[in-house]
Amino acid sequence: MNVTGGVRPTRDSFAKEGTMAISAATRRSRRVTAQGGIVARAAFLTPATVFYSLFMIVPLLGTIFLSFTDWTGFSVENIHFIGTANYRALFADPVFHQALGNTVVFVVIAAVFKTLAALVMALLVHMRLPLSNVFRSVFVLPSVISVVVIGIVFSLILSPSLGPLNALLQAVGLGQFQSAWLGDGHIALFILIGLDVWLGFGVYMLLFLSRLVALPKDLSEAAVVDGATAFQELRYVTLPQLSSVIGIVTLLSIIDSLKVFATVYVMTNGGPNHATEVLSTWGYFQAFSQSQVGYGSAVLVVLLFFTFLVTVAWMIFLRPRTERNS
């Protein structure tokens, strides 16, 4: 038995020891390292900042600006500032409300199940049974293959008349479960959510695994010695130690679900009849297909605002609690 008696040395433990033993010379050299002329700092930080500001921040500000106009997207001379008219129109737009509702449903269900699935599969893979590596790679596979590809393949599989799924159900005698699948307004959204969870859990599973393999073993070993069952160990030792990662994964999966676009666009494009419309697809549709650039931008700004809200809420409520336990 190899009891290391402690955690691997980390940057934090270096810092704790270092602070106490720090000498004047070391402090001087630290200052030397941290100093850099303006030229040096500029050289390192400028390239990324320039591209980021030009091609991410500028379009972002552009979108926000456009949401206050009535532009159709054609000639630049026709941009008229119309104040908050677009936003007021949002309140009266039934499709916007549907898209908003769908987005909320999507986010809540997808984030919860993605986090759960990632956690469960991480715990299973962490058992290090034979072939776990193969399983782990397969679970990550959807994140590697593009959403477009998977979306189209599934559209084909779920095709009501030609697709293999209905054919398969028929062949094994479960014909009564055949359905229009993505053509059925009642279940289409949930099919998309299911696919999003299926596609997305792999990366989060890896996040959990990374923390699981780094956990100090002494606590679990003490639990075993004390006679705890596997479930007790899970509940009282492992899960509390994972709480900070659970918090991070929750935030990331919420943000990812808010951003969902490709899956919906490729598979149903918001249909049938807006049953699967989400904020990002509705904004995109308005801006590009309906030439309502101003209105579409307003929809997207609402989406951005929600993302911002969620992040701030997380930082205020969840982060302090999760960091206390990490």
Binding site: A34, Q35, L45, P59, L156, L206, L303
Partner: protein, 277 residues
């Protein structure tokens, strides 16, 4: 763990993992072997394995009727150049954030991380106008400079790594008279290889698979990337499932191969690089 495992429980674990793995692998496998069947065969005998390897679908994609080769070339050029550019700007900025102390540094860093929250659809409208003004539409450069703006992830991962390098190393070098560029290229970068691999692989996947920017920023079909071409193909191909699935298989094959080759790096890198401070 030194605990004896209940064999029934182990069996259950395997069952669960197998079901999940199969549900993931089956559609992919179906896609691949269906590309070797004729369109009719795919529709009529959907599940049967191909009796002979029909290469007609692939021929159609690459011959005069299809643009797959052009699309592949476009994707390769754009993705490779963008990834190289991203590694350069991200590592430079990460070193800057990790090494220099200045007022407002953390705020500036958070500003650079905003990109993680922004969906690309929110930028596409204004972005299109902007790239149009710069006369970079319908060209490699328009897409590449756009992707270079998505450095938030790389900066986050690499700064995290650079901060974990013991300061004694860099201080010793600096005291010996090395300037920052030398510290960066001779010490930091070589050490950062795993994290850089993560950034390379993930950005490669994202950019290769991205369809929104190439869709909006290009108008000529021969400027499409693979992701866009495959999407456009879908609306046109109708019941030609064999050809469609062949196109999809090619689109999936490249990241798949990259993944299989760099698998260990990929998974290790994702696990190491993803622990955020």
């Amino acid at each position: 763990m030194t605990r004896h495992r209940n064999p029934a429980f182990v069996a259950l674990v395997y069952v669960v993992m197998t079901i999940v793995a199969l549900s993931i692998a089956a559609p992919v496998i179906w896609m691949i072997y269906s590309s070797f069947k004729t369109n009719n065969a795919v529709l009529s005998n959907t599940f049967s394995l191909p009796t002979s390897l029909y290469l007609g679908n692939f021929a159609d994609l690459f011959s005069s009727g299809g643009n797959m080769l052009t699309w592949l070339t476009n994707s390769v050029v754009i993705t490779v150049l963008s990834v190289i550019g991203l590694v350069v700007v991200s590592s430079l900025a990460a070193y800057g954030f990790a090494t220099f102390d200045f007022r407002g540094r953390e705020l500036f860093f958070l500003f650079m991380l905003l990109g993680l929250m922004i969906p690309s659809q929110a930028l596409i409208i204004a972005g299109f106008q902007w790239i149009s003004i710069l006369h970079l539409l319908n060209a490699y450069s328009g897409l590449i400079v756009t992707y270079l703006g998505w450095s938030s992830f790389g900066i986050l991962v690499l700064r995290n790594f650079f901060q974990s390098v013991p300061k004694e190393l860099t201080e010793a070098a600096r005291l010996d008279g090395a300037n920052h560029w030398q510290v960066f290229t001779r010490i930091m970068l070589p050490l950062a290889r795993p994290s850089i691999s993560t950034v390379v692989i993930l950005n490669f996947m994202w950019i290769w698979n991205d369809f929104l920017y190439p869709l909006i920023y290009t108008s000529d079909e021969d400027k499409y990337t693979v992701a866009v071409g495959v999407l456009q193909f879908q609306s046109r191909a109708g019941v030609q499932w064999g050809t469609q699935l062949a196109a999809l298989s090619i689109a999936a094959a490249v990241p798949l191969v990259v993944f299989l080759v760099f698998q260990r790096q990929f998974i290790r890198g994702l696990m190491e690089g993803a622990i955020k401070s």
